[in-house]
């Protein structure tokens, strides 16, 4: 900018009568570990946003070079001042710095432009694709919808994972916990669910919000890349609060994510939100609470840790038709230590959610993936949303698998088995094989139904165990070409009619005759 322009601007300003609207301010008296103690600000309210005045005493040019406004969030109201979390780099805060109250609670921008983008906790784009043109500010903390505004869960949310859609079905508006030790495939289940939404018709496809809390940036980048490559990023928003972000931003990230999700829900859309993971959010909140000198409770978590998660997860719901009929389905993730689900945070979140799927290290190491322990996994409201076709084929699987596990354990001690028991074990083994699924390969509902139907009809009983997955894959390919009408019918109606069953039986028989070599005995 040349000096004449600057002079012109200064002259312009000189003609403007200065506004004397004062601001309420306080002074930073102590700062450290992401928390500041501020003297003054007697009129500040809880969760109010503060701004730090970094330009005081600095030349204009230095002020212009500042890296955006540094914000704070009031978390403690005290006798002589307030304590606030710094929503950014604490190193930018100095003792004696003036802090202004803004009179507004924390809000994040939301807009349709966010689809396909990676944003920070504060809703700022961090993927280098430039700023958003038009956004609406939505409050990060909002009261969840009341009873009257809600509708019961009745529409399925297909995950594309056979084991889940068959035995632990999820409905739109449900909160289903994914829980397990590290490295058991929790994120994979969540990402596959996002990928599977591509199989939904565009008008019914849920918008997906993936909230990464305390994750490595490389992991989030890999997920974004996977979603992009498989065409799922276009309907997904990634909210990233990496491990390197201040604890305050990690604690707020799920709330930002759900605020963005609510923006779409209020427009009548279905949204799927994944919190990966709430254990790390709880740890960030514990850190903040201890720094704020709040009394520690069990495992040093503050007393309101349950409320932190319950008020977040209560925001997942299905709205009534009068409210637009939108929904938020939440898949929170909790990481356990050594499979201990009786920890403080796991038990809290288990009690809040409408069901949970346990991922077990032993199953994972045995090659059973997804490593879901169907015996202890449950969906409390999802069965009301399960499609009739899936219900028809999946009815007895859970029981069959439970019996198989019992018999399998018994078999280790008994060498001679009667035919019925041996058959049951063989059938169970094949069912386990059918339910195995590679990551990143969600399967549409109709194909899941066909595969499980085939397993129920003992179609795979003569197939060597190692070849079951391959035969299943080839059968589905065969049905896709030779019986596509039946599959389309199942997809369209969501029902497995007698006619469809007949068609499937015929096709299965034709496949068997054409591929005798695959059924070459156990």
């Amino acid at each position: 900018m040349d000096s004449s322009t600057v002079e012109k601007i200064i002259k312009e300003i000189e003609h403007i009568a200065p506004s004397h609207g004062g601001e309420h301010v306080g002074k930073v008296v102590a700062v450290g570990d992401g928390v500041v103690a501020i003297d003054g600000l007697s009129k500040a309210v809880m969760s109010e946003v503060l701004t730090f005045e970094e330009t005081k005493g600095k030349k204009l040019a230095e002020g212009m070079e500042a890296q955006g406004q540094l914000l704070g969030l009031v978390l403690n109201l005290e006798e002589d001042g307030v304590r606030a979390a710094v929503l950014g780099d604490t190193a930018r805060v100095a003792e004696g710095m003036t802090v202004k109250s803004t009179g507004r609670v924390l809000s994040v921008p939301a807009s349709d432009e966010m689809l396909g983008r990676v944003v920070s906790t504060l809703g700022e784009p961090i993927d280098g694709k430039g700023p958003f043109k038009k956004t609406t500010m939505v409050p990060v903390e909002r009261q969840a919808a009341g009873v009257i505004d809600r509708k019961s869960v009745s529409v399925p949310l297909q995950t594309g994972i056979k084991a889940i859609d068959a035995m632990i079905p999820i409905g739109r508006g449900q909160r289903e916990l994914i829980i397990g030790d590290r490295g058991t495939g929790k994120t994979t289940v969540a990402i596959d669910t996002i990928l599977n939404q591509k199989n939904e018709p565009k008008d019914r496809r849920p918008i997906c919000v993936y909230v990464a809390i305390g994750q490595k940036e490389s992991k989030t980048a890999r997920i974004a890349q996977q979603l992009r490559e498989q065409g799922a990023l276009e309907y997904t928003i990634i909210v990233d609060a990496p491990a390197s972000a201040p604890a305050a931003l990690q604690y707020l990230a799920p709330f930002s994510g759900v605020a963005i999700a609510e923006y779409f829900m209020d427009k009548g859309k279905d949204v799927l939100i994944i919190y990966d993971d709430l254990s790390k959010q709880a740890v960030a909140y514990r850190q903040l609470s201890l720094l704020l000198r709040r009394p520690p409770g069990r495992e040093a978590y503050p007393g309101d840790i349950f409320y932190l998660h319950s008020r977040l997860l209560e925001r997942a719901c299905r709205l009534s038709e009068e409210k637009g009929g939108g929904s938020i389905t939440a898949l929170p993730i909790i990481e356990t230590q050594e499979g201990d689900v009786s920890g403080y945070i796991p038990t809290n979140v288990i009690s809040i959610t409408d069901g949970q799927m346990f991922l077990i290290t032993d199953l994972f190491n045995k090659g059973i993936r997804p490593a879901i322990d169907v015996g202890i996994s449950v969906s409390r409201v999802g069965s009301a949303a399960q499609t009739k076709a899936m219900k028809a084929v999946a009815g007895g699987i859970k029981l069959e698998l439970a019996q198989f596990r019992e018999l399998e354990a018994f078999m280790q001690f008994a060498s001679d088995l009667d035919k019925e028991t041996a058959d049951r074990i063989e059938s169970g083994r094949r069912m386990v094989e059918v339910l195995k699924q590679k990551n990143g390969e969600p399967i549409p509902l109709e194909k899941q139904v066909a595969a499980i139907y085939a397993a129920n009809q003992k179609f795979f009983i003569d197939v060597p165990l190692k070849k079951v997955t391959e035969v299943e894959k080839r059968l589905i390919e065969f049905l896709d070409t030779k019986s596509s009408k039946t599959l389309v019918e199942i997809k369209k109606t969501g029902v497995l009619s007698d006619e469809s069953k007949k068609e499937l039986n015929k096709a299965m028989e034709a496949f068997r005759l054409g591929h005798e070599e695959l059924f070459a005995g156990k």
């Binding site: 200064i10 300003i13 004397h20 601001e23 309420h24 002074k27 450290g32």
Partner: protein, 133 residues
């Protein structure tokens, strides 16, 4: 940031002096109390904590008018009259500072209020709007 013992003693000292006790009497009473409890070693730290309280109280009560140039003082004083009246502050409580980074205008800060009518603020606002649109 921690409520150390010396802060509590310094706070108590501040309160009794504010309450009307003479400073020498208050310090003497404090010393006796510390001696009785075997905490006399805390005295230097209590002194420093007391100084911090005094500084904080000064920040709460001081009103500082910052101007870019000495020659702007009269204009600034005439412009802030209404502001001071609304804050209930008399002119003689005012401390004037020169801050050439303000470029022009004035900035009034104190008693939990800030009124910034400096050119720097306006220019920074203009710059923000320009780069964000």
């Amino acid at each position: 940031m921690n409520n150390y013992m010396e802060q509590a003693y310094a706070q108590a000292l501040w309160k009794v002096v504010e309450g009307g006790m003479s400073p020498s009497k208050a310090v003497h009473a404090l010393r006796n109390s510390l001696r009785a409890n075997g905490r006399e070693a805390l005295l230097p730290r209590i002194g420093r904590a007391f100084a911090r309280i005094v500084e904080r109280e000064a920040r709460r009560t001081d009103i500082v008018l910052a101007i870019a140039r000495r020659k702007d003082e009269r204009t600034a004083h005439s412009q802030i009259k209404n502001v001071l009246a609304s804050l209930g502050i008399e002119g003689h409580d005012l401390k004037t500072q020169i801050d050439d980074t303000l470029i022009g205008g004035w900035r009034l800060e104190g008693r939990g209020h800030l009124v910034d009518a400096s050119y720097k603020k306006q220019l920074l606002g203009l710059y923000e709007r320009a780069i964000n649109t």
